[in-house]
């Protein structure tokens, strides 16, 4: 079936099976390999994307559900050759080791910061509760989100 939606800011039409999982559509058909599949069952968060600005798991969505939606993947965060402040903070704070969970953690952090622009560390932990990382021990990820929240708030103020 033909499905029309916006992907990382641009209108797109795909022609695929209605029940194709969004993670497969993104990775295999569209070549956007940022979102990762790990558990395939909604427990690890590595496939997180934004749908109409809200963090969702692309392994638990079917392509048909994208109709008319605004999708953001980690590939859509950098602009004008510059990384998003969250991505910069992940690099700066050493929040990336193997990197497999990173795109999902970044997308979950965006969802958190949209709802709560200045979260306490405990709130960051809660916001990232659905993103498993086997390398970092989480502290550096929390450091990165905390640092990014400060930078993002400063940029939003005139």
């Amino acid at each position: 079936m033909k499905i029309d939606f916006r992907l990382n800011g641009a209108a797109i039409q795909v022609d695929c099976a209605a029940d194709r999982r969004v993670i497969d559509l993104l990775r295999e058909d569209l070549g956007l390999t940022g979102a990762k599949e790990s558990c395939g069952a909604g427990e690890c968060g590595s496939c997180a994307i934004l749908v109409d600005g809200e963090g969702k798991l692309s392994c638990l969505m079917l392509a048909a559900q994208l109709e008319g939606r605004e999708i953001t993947t980690v590939e859509g965060l950098a602009s004008e050759g510059r990384l998003h402040p969250l991505q910069e903070a992940f690099v700066e704070k050493g929040a990336v080791q193997c990197g497999f969970c990173t795109p999902g953690a970044v997308m979950a952090s965006l969802d958190l910061l949209r709802r709560n622009p200045n979260p306490a560390r405990a709130e960051i932990r809660e916001g990232l509760a659905g993103n498993l990382c086997r390398c970092t021990g989480y502290q550096k990820i929390i450091d990165a989100v905390e640092a990014a929240s400060k930078i993002m708030q400063r940029r939003e103020r005139p």
Partner: protein, 282 residues
Amino acid sequence: MTQVLLPRALDELWDFLEEDPNTAVYSGGTDLLVNLRGGRINPSRLACLERIEEIRGVRDAGAAVFIGAATTHTHLLENSLVSSEFPVLTKAIRVLASPAIRNMGTIGGNIVNASPAGDTLPPLYALDAEVEIVSRKEAKRMPVSDFIVGPGRVRLGANEIVKGVWIRKAPEFNVRHFEKVGLRKSQACAVASLAAALSLSEGGKIERARLAWGSVGPTVVRSAEVEEALLGRELEIQMLAEVARLVERAVSPIDDVRASAQYRRIVAGRLLLRLAESGCKN
């Protein structure tokens, strides 16, 4: 390939369900799509309910509040009417799965899934919630405790769906408590949970009590014996420890990968002790 339908109104949904009775409905998909992929279900078509406005959102109906079945957990968590009238429900949703799952999963899905560990269910039982069931021809209501008959089993006929849930406002309940015991803090299925709504007199005596336990029986457990034993008493640890023994007899847990039946039985009783800390607070 399985066809995926996106009805925008209930009338459209009824047409789809009548065309092919083997059409499975879902909203968040956090359970259905896992079961589909695992080959445990094999519907001929899927109908996603997330775009049907009639079954989304929270509506103040005066003496009661209606919550549409396709309302996400996140929406409920951020809704001030829900958190002011039914803080026990908000407390349970706060520890339900993870943010992304709460952005997707819905209260209707939690009810129809009827897992004994469904986190919204103990609050809904403690609040005496009623489920509204609709088909093309009729709408009816029944207590959630009648609607759910066993693990994954509900009283839902062919071509019927849950439209939402009705909860009566009950400001007289001035203690609202929820606690879940899991194997980790987040993203954990309940080993045992307790939702409690109590009404304390000015002198601190329990005038009304509604208690519901999750994960310690085939469905959520309420016990008239336990609730009656609390009446006229003060929220004090010794009394609660006595009543905890009745709780241990009232529940019927099983052994599974997360915990033994015996552990669950003890925890179900001990969860009651936390009420001593509640005093007159929310």
